[in-house]
Amino acid sequence: MIPWLSPALQDLFIESAIETAMMVGGAAAIAILFGLPIALLLHATGKGGLAQSGLVNRPLGLLINAVRSTPFIILMVAIVPFTRLVAGTSIGTTAAIVPLALAATAFISRLFESAFAEVDRGVVEAARAMGATRMQILLKVVVPEALPGLIAAITVMLVSLVGFSAMAGAVGGGGLGDLGIRFGYQRFMPEVMASVVVILILVVQGLQSLGDWLVRRVRRR
């Protein structure tokens, strides 16, 4: 696969790639699952929203901003007790998914929220005029109309998660970034570092292209 590396290192590469995939995939899945309802809530309770409520919107927004403004490396160690509660351990790939998912949820909630804000207000008004309930408007109008924006947001999040996952080595999460640090940097093996960087570039390019293609497919404008 990477001919200039020893077979042992090649195995390590494959192992690390799987760990990265698990961390990014796991965190992304959780983030989308929680981020979608959070973003809908933010959107609906926001100014001029369908269920405007500062009482809900402001604390929720504050919490999300707090998570987003904490540097990831600090967030990771700061929530160790929570991680232990959820994952049963604070070390390893599974444990690393918890802080990654938390950071990604906060991140994607805002991205989703702005995708919802892009939805034409006239279309929402039309749905109201047709007697749709607020729930119907959110699920049948806002989400489908925002779909291209949502996919673009997921793409941005995946790319960021690939970057964040490199820091997961700090809690023994492994992954490609960790491999690059431990072998490429600490053991002075520039060929490992270069390979990691090249692979990550290819992964990010691939994700971006896939995301762009999907956006084009679902955009009917």
Binding site: V123, E125, A129, G131, Q136, K140
Partner: protein, 373 residues
């Protein structure tokens, strides 16, 4: 038009003498009483978008509200289905006070009030058929029934072959047809048109207005439309209200408002549609009056029994004045003909005044002629 299949018994064109608006006794389809709507403006100063508006729209009529942007007409039409809640007043639709209804009952009633928008407001993620199905879906109509009704209304607006297209693939006129089909899918008895043709070119506007009128005749709809174009009112409305600064300036049968406007704003609105404007150059080339005489430029509107009388030559003989016809034409509003003439009148002031008074006695409308560059 081929797009519109002939109905079993299409209603005859409304006889203006018994326009639906003049129907007595029957409950109006829409009745608005003393509507006031405040908007919190900058620095806490409230502006009044509606300032005591009362209107009533009879069942089956096409009622137009005309006004410039900012006149409050958009707020007014949104008050009919309570997309906008009035600060004060009463909104009765089909005899029911909507302001007294709870959320669920209001949503229910909204389904009997179709609405068409200036920018169509179609869901870009859905096909034409799925857009039209939306109000039915929201109302919980079973899928088989939905499908049949969608096909039916798409046929009604002449877009059956576009069922699987997405809105982005359609022209403006086609999008508005989808908008109309969507509004009609739940079989409403009232159709609200919010500047429905303002984003369309004149020819498409004409098509869409024709469609709305035919649908009114066929489905016994009551249509309330707002527009800033007098031409739209002239083309399809039975009655009209002119709005400015949140108030109704005047209201009445379209023919009456056009031929006998009582408010200057109405007059300026009409001037662009049926009025006469004569180029400055033409006016400059007219001969100068004789010494002791005066030259006046007049617009004379003939409507009613005296339209056919030879009033020009008679006036000339009676008052000893010269009348030079600069231009003239015959037009029709809601099936009623009227003539419009631009005159240059020469003679002593007193005789000109007398002739003007005589014209007015005959029921003709005489106004000074507007000049344009």
């Amino acid at each position: 038009m081929s797009a519109f299949p002939p109905g079993p018994t299409p209603r005859q064109a409304t006889d203006p003498a018994q326009a639906p608006g003049s129907a007595q006794g029957a409950e109006p389809a829409i009745q608005l009483r003393n509507l006031v709507r405040h908007f919190a403006g900058r620095g806490g100063v409230a502006t009044k978008a509606l300032d005591g508006v009362s209107l009533s729209v009879a069942a089956g009529e096409i009622f137009g509200i005309v006004g410039r942007s900012g006149a409050g007409k958009s707020t007014l039409i949104r008050c009919v289905n309570l997309l906008e809640r009035p600060t004060e007043g009463e909104v009765r639709v089909l005899g029911e006070d909507l302001l007294l209804l709870g959320d669920r009952a209001l949503r229910e009633r909204r389904r009997s009030i179709g609405m068409v928008f200036q920018h169509f407001n179609l869901l870009s993620s859905r096909t034409v058929a799925d857009n039209v199905a939306f109000p039915l879906e929201v109302a919980g109509v079973p899928q088989a029934e939905r499908k049949a009704r969608v096909a039916e209304v798409l046929g009604l607006v002449g877009l059956a072959e576009k069922a699987d297209a997405y809105p982005a693939q359609l022209s403006g006129g086609q999008k508005q047809r989808v908008g109309i089909a969507r509004a009609l899918a739940p079989r409403p008895s009232i159709l609200l048109c919010d500047e429905a043709t303002s984003a369309l070119d004149p020819e498409t506007t004409h098509d869409i207005l024709g469609l709305i009128r035919r649908l009114r005749d066929r489905l016994d709809l009551t249509v309330l439309l707002i527009t800033h174009e007098m031409a739209v009112v002239k083309e399809i409305c039975d009655r009209v209200a002119v709005m400015e600064a949140g108030k109704v300036l005047e209201e009445g049968r379209v023919f009456d408002v056009f031929t006998r406007p009582s408010h200057p704003t109405t007059r300026s609105f009409i001037a662009g549609t049926i009025g006469h404007s004569v180029p400055r150059g033409t006016v400059a080339r007219l001969p100068a009056p004789q010494p002791g005489e005066e030259k006046r430029l007049l617009q004379v509107l003939f409507a009613g029994p005296n339209s056919t009388r030879a009033v020009i030559s008679e006036a000339s003989r009676r008052f000893g004045i010269d009348l030079d016809i600069i231009s003239g034409r015959i037009d029709e509003i809601a099936g009623e003909p009227f003539g419009l003439m631009a005159l240059a009148a020469y003679g002593p002031s007193a005789q000109l005044d007398a002739a003007t008074a005589w014209f007015q006695e005959l029921g003709l409308t005489v106004t000074p002629l507007a000049e344009v560059n």
